[in-house]
């Protein structure tokens, strides 16, 4: 292989690594991880108590936003007790996997 080809391959590899900085989530693993979320987020219109409001729709939500929201529950920038506890159990990679899966969903009509 020529030096030029090697250089080309190296730059493609570098591009792939950089390009994936915001999309390293594993959808298949995310699909497994959201099993826990389903207890509340899988029941249409299910409500929280005090104050009462429906648990949000999270399937189809934007990827980076889901990542931010889960990190905010971890850091305390969001204060919902159940979600703070759930987020504590997730690694950074778990969060990226969940976000990759959720953001890939299109609604069931």
């Amino acid at each position: 292989m020529s030096r030029l080809q090697l250089l080309g391959l190296a730059s493609i590899a570098a591009f792939l690594v950089v390009g994936n900085a915001y999309a390293t989530g594993d959808k298949a693993n995310g699909r497994k991880l959201v099993y826990t979320c389903n207890g509340c987020h899988g029941i249409p219109g299910t409500s929280n108590a005090y104050p009462q409001y429906p648990v949000p729709k999270i399937a189809g939500q934007n990827e980076q936003f889901i990542i931010s929201a889960l990190h905010e529950y971890q850091s305390g920038d969001r204060t919902h007790p159940t979600m703070m506890a759930q987020a504590q159990s997730l690694s950074d990679q778990n969060i990226e996997d969940i976000a990759a899966y959720l953001s890939s969903i299109t609604p069931i009509k």
Binding site: R31, G42, P44, Q52, Y53, P54, A59, R78, I108
Partner: protein
């Protein structure tokens, strides 16, 4: 007696604190108030930049709840705190009515988990 009164007042406080969020907002006023929201959240309520959430078709009361949390600091987000501060309780109801009524790309997890 004292104890009963104390308990009763706790009950009263709880009743006020949990005043239900009502889905009675004015969509037309919501659209006017949402003029600044669409820069990030999209004219159709589906943010293009993935760092911002899609609002179109999200539950009305959930949007209200989120806005109240940004306003009172239970959610600490500098951008949303600024916007929420400009909204009255009525504005929040109206904006929520506007976005929740849009065609949605969101769904619950029903049918989307392993084993479904």
């Amino acid at each position: 007696m004292n104890r009963a009164l104390t308990l009763l007042s706790f009950g009263a406080v709880l009743a006020f604190a949990s005043a239900p969020l009502l889905a009675s907002g004015d969509v037309a006023n919501g659209k006017t108030k949402a003029a600044s929201c669409v820069a990030c959240h999209g004219a159709d309520g589906n943010a293009v930049d993935p760092q911002y959430p899609r609002l179109a078709g999200q539950y009305n009361e959930y949007i209200q709840q989120a806005l109240h949390e940004y306003k009172d600091g239970r959610r600490n987000n500098p951008i949303m705190k600024g916007f929420a501060a400009t909204l009255s309780d009525q504005d929040i109801e109206d904006v929520a009515a506007y976005f929740s009524g849009m065609p949605t790309k969101l769904d619950t997890l029903k049918g989307h988990v392993q084993g479904d």
